[in-house]
């Protein structure tokens, strides 16, 4: 009896000691300039296989039409003058130092920026990286006909680039631009290996970039895989350690997990299974890591009338034009159940666009889950309950009597969490007498252009649901989304103010945020905008995705960053 008890205790202590926590980072964050590794490089060698759920259409980040582009491009073509580390700080990469007021890199009037490249830098094809490449990058990204859709913020403010010598470039701005470092954190373009700015969409470079990154594309089998081998000219001594990276394109979530299970892959982007299930299934082989993400899920309302051939804000939406209806919708959603039960804690709460980063605004919802309030608001707004459980207008602000409270909810297809969210919201809204009809479209339609008659661009929608995010320099995205000058119309086809929201206070705050170099001033301005979103409800924020990655336990040296993609820092990876 005593021996049995003793052995049980031994077993128990063994089990308890085996339990441990997992962290989001493996090995300390590497400061690019200071890691010392043997000059032989490739210590450990080997190939890491990464799983992508879709195929990137290009490896040119500036032409990225989807987030997937960055996942692969960051290993090869996105090494620029600076990068953003996992703390959200800028660190110099190709540049010797970051230009600041202190070191004179940024002039006192904020209008002149001096960048100095490190010595001896080479592109992956052996050609030297010079200040002329900085000049070329500015030429391309400031050219409105280049076809660039990402990373162009503030380039139109650069009036001149002077190449003092091969390593030094002096940029002159027409007005102070706080994002002057962020502009160069997404890669440099080599003049000798690309082409004319207007032809950027047709460059061969887009498929096989000559870059300063740790890996170089050696083979791209369309629909199957992208293989990248070690860049011998990579500027950090001894890195990358791996011999090659293979990005496999595997759309089915179950097949992806099976690859991780079989050891056919070591890095899994956005696993479909929740962490508890994933870790159990892949115990000993791989672990799922969750880190704060930037993808913020919200419902966008169309404040103007849809399907009237008029994309402007002129006519209010018959149902959503009344703020009480929007408030009722916001009050009908059970946010906590959505985050905890439906999405099993893989998301965190988010109430406004600024839910992360240095500009994070912790603002409480004005209209939280309150079914009684929702019903009360709808009654006040002139919507009476109909026989089929759906309300009908009777004395409503804009809708003629007899109109059913029926709205279309558009989202994109083939994304499970989004579909679950939609179905949950439909039930929530049904409970207060609102009929929400889900109508999902392919990614290319939802995120299409004005010329394609994409619903959100031309204003032919009631409610849109999708996730959006921006990185450490928020001005470009937020100006495009919230400025009253950015409503998409025929004259302004690339505008981002889908909700057709006109708010002069927001316009003023955007002005302040875009011209000040004082981070606190900017943050206060952004929080003012966040509060306006909460008050005026052009959108209802639901939750913030945590970025999830499945990583094989045999891999080390990686750092998962909110601000980077899956292949950020791939130069530091190696096998144990």
């Amino acid at each position: 009896m005593k021996t049995k008890l003793f052995s049980l205790l031994v077993l128990l202590s063994l089990v308890l000691s085996a339990c441990g926590g997992g962290g989001a980072t493996e090995a300390p964050a590497a400061d690019p300039g200071s890691v010392t590794e043997p000059a032989t490089g490739g210590e450990g060698g080997g190939t890491v296989t990464l799983i992508l759920p879709e195929e990137p259409t290009t490896l040119n980040f500036f032409l990225a039409d989807a987030a997937i582009v960055r996942q692969a491009a960051e290993a090869t073509s996105m090494t620029g003058l600076a990068t953003i580390n996992e703390k959200g700080e800028f660190v110099p990469m190709l540049a010797q130092d970051l230009p600041t007021l202190d070191n004179g890199g940024l002039s006192a009037d904020y209008l002149t920026v001096t960048w100095k490249l490190r010595e001896g830098l080479k592109w992956s094809d052996g050609e030297p990286i010079t200040s002329d490449d900085i000049k070329f990058t500015v030429e391309v990204l400031s050219n409105p006909n280049s076809g660039a859709v990402a990373g162009t913020g503030g380039f139109d403010l650069i009036t001149g680039v002077e190449t003092l010598d091969d390593l030094t470039a002096v940029l002159t701005y027409s007005q102070p631009y706080p994002g002057y470092i962020d502009q160069f954190a997404y890669g440099l373009l080599p003049r000798h290996a690309t082409g004319a700015a207007e032809d950027m969409t047709a460059w061969d470079w887009n498929r096989q970039p000559v870059g300063a990154g740790p890996f170089v594309v050696s083979n791209w089998v369309s629909g199957e895989s992208i293989t990248m081998t070690r860049n011998p000219n990579y500027f950090e001594e001894g890195k990358p350690y791996l011999d090659s990276l293979v990005f496999r394109i595997v759309p089915e979530p179950a097949a992806q997990t099976a690859m991780m299970l079989n050891g056919d892959a070591q890095f899994h982007l956005w696993p479909g299974e929740f962490k508890e299930d994933y870790d159990k299934l892949l115990a000993g082989k791989a672990t799922q890591h969750l880190i704060p993400g930037i993808w913020n899920m919200a419902i966008d309302f169309n404040l103007s009338a849809p399907f009237d051939g008029d994309p402007t804000a002129a006519t209010p939406h018959p149902i959503l034009g009344d703020i009480r209806v929007r408030q009722a919708i916001a009050s009908a959603i059970n946010y906590e159940s959505l985050q905890k039960d439906v999405l099993r804690g893989s998301v965190s709460d988010s109430t406004n666009p600024f839910a992360y980063g240095w500009y994070q605004c912790d603002l409480p919802r004005k209209f939280g889950y309150d079914v009684e309030k929702a019903n009360q608001l709808l009654d006040e707004a002139g919507w009476v309950m109909g026989d089929d459980g759906i309300r009908v207008a009777k004395g409503a602000m804009y809708a003629p009597d007899g109109t059913r409270l029926s709205l279309e909810l558009q989202g994109y297809t083939a994304f499970d969490p989004l579909q679950l969210t939609e179905e949950f919201i439909v039930e929530n809204l049904k409970a207060v007498g609102i009929e929400a009809r889900i109508q999902n479209y392919d990614f290319s339609i939802i995120f299409g252009t004005y010329e394609d008659n994409s619903p959100r661009m031309v204003g032919d929608f009631d409610m849109l649901i999708f996730d959006r995010g921006f990185t450490t320099e928020p001005q470009g995205y937020n100006f495009d989304a919230y400025s009253s000058t950015r409503i998409p119309t025929a004259e302004n086809p690339s505008g981002g103010n889908y909700f057709r929201w006109v708010n002069p206070e927001v316009d003023a705050a955007l002005e302040t945020a875009g011209s000040s170099f004082d981070q606190q001033v900017r943050k206060d301005a952004y929080c003012k905008i966040g509060q306006a979103v909460i008050d005026d409800l052009p959108q209802v924020y639901l939750y913030l995705f945590q970025d999830n990655y499945g990583v094989a336990d045999s891999l080390t040296g990686y750092t998962l960053s909110t601000w980077g993609s899956m292949s950020w820092g791939a130069q530091n990876w190696k096998y144990k």
Binding site: P253, L420, V426, N440, N453
Partner: protein, 300 residues
């Protein structure tokens, strides 16, 4: 006592003969019963104590138990109820899209096969064109076109799916009917009818077409099976019936993410599709045996 006991066979009508020969094929008989059960249970789905869309997120991923015979899904909805309602869409889409497809195919094939010449060439080239379209692109184009329309009835998802599947499958019945007509129009009884002054329409509708019913029906059953499977694939592209309306195919598609954690969510709709397709195929076998005058049954 009859001297010449010719038995019952000679006084049977053609219809009765066909029915009897059908049920000689035992599996076909069972298959009809199974299909009837599926149709009945789908029609009476509203008798289930749960709604197909009522959620209970805290009660998700239950395995089969007394409360939920097939367990619950990721939002805590009763899977058994969703399977019942899902049958409505899947079986309706299967039936209606096949009818439409056959109707189109028969018209094209009959005209083509009977008149020949320029009409035949023109219609067959159109058929060939449809056959060469890559399915995915046709789906995307059709989806975009229909989406632009404002008419409310066009926005109804089930209707759209039926049209899309019919538009992509009418070519096979068309070819089949054309080949049948090419053969049958040369028969003596047709020449006789023409000599007696029968109009083209009369010949097509009253003389040739009735003789094609057998092969058309068989082809139809095969197509219905294929239609149900296509509907399953369409919803994954966002063309099918929109959530939260359940169809066997859409339940299967969303079950993919949970296949390691809750495999039963994929098992049940997969089972239903399997049973339905097998039943339809056996019915097709039975029909083929029943209609074909040249098949010799071996006695069991």
């Amino acid at each position: 006592m009859n001297e010449l006991s010719l038995g019952n066979r000679q006084s049977e009508s053609v219809a009765a003969l066909i029915v009897r020969r059908f049920f000689k094929h035992r599996l076909a008989g069972i298959a009809i019963a199974v299909l009837a059960v599926l149709v009945i249970e789908s029609t009476f789905a509203f008798l289930s104590r749960y709604d197909p869309t009522t959620q209970n997120p805290t009660n998700s991923f239950q395995t089969s138990n007394a409360e939920h015979w097939f367990g619950t899904d990721e939002l805590g909805r009763d899977i058994f109820t969703r399977i019942l309602y899902g049958g409505r869409v899947s079986l309706t889409v299967g039936l209606l899209s096949t009818f439409l497809s056959i109707a189109l195919g028969v018209v094209v094939g009959a005209l083509s096969g009977y008149y020949g010449g320029l009409i035949d060439s023109a219609l067959m080239r159109i058929t060939d064109a449809f056959l060469t379209f890559p399915t995915i692109f046709v789906l995307i184009l059709l989806g975009a076109f229909l989406r632009e329309q404002q008419a409310a009835w066009l926005k109804n998802s089930v209707f759209v799916v039926i049209i899309i599947i019919a538009a992509l499958s009418w070519m096979w019945p068309a070819r089949l009917v054309r080949s049948l007509f090419l053969v049958l129009r040369e028969r003596e009884f047709i020449t006789a009818t023409r000599a007696l002054g029968g109009s083209d329409t009369r010949i097509i509708l009253r003389h040739i077409l009735p003789n094609c019913i057998g092969p058309i029906l068989v082809s139809g059953t095969l197509q219905m099976a294929s239609a149900i499977i296509t509907e399953s694939g369409l919803s994954y592209l966002g063309f099918g019936v929109q959530p939260p309306t359940p169809t066997w195919g859409s339940i299967l598609a969303t079950a993919q993410n949970q296949v390691f954690r809750a495999p039963w969510i994929a098992f049940y709709p997969g089972l239903m599709i399997f049973i339905t397709v097998m039943a339809i195929n056996y019915i097709g076998d039975g029909l083929r045996d029943a209609f074909d005058p040249y098949v010799i049954h071996t006695e069991k």
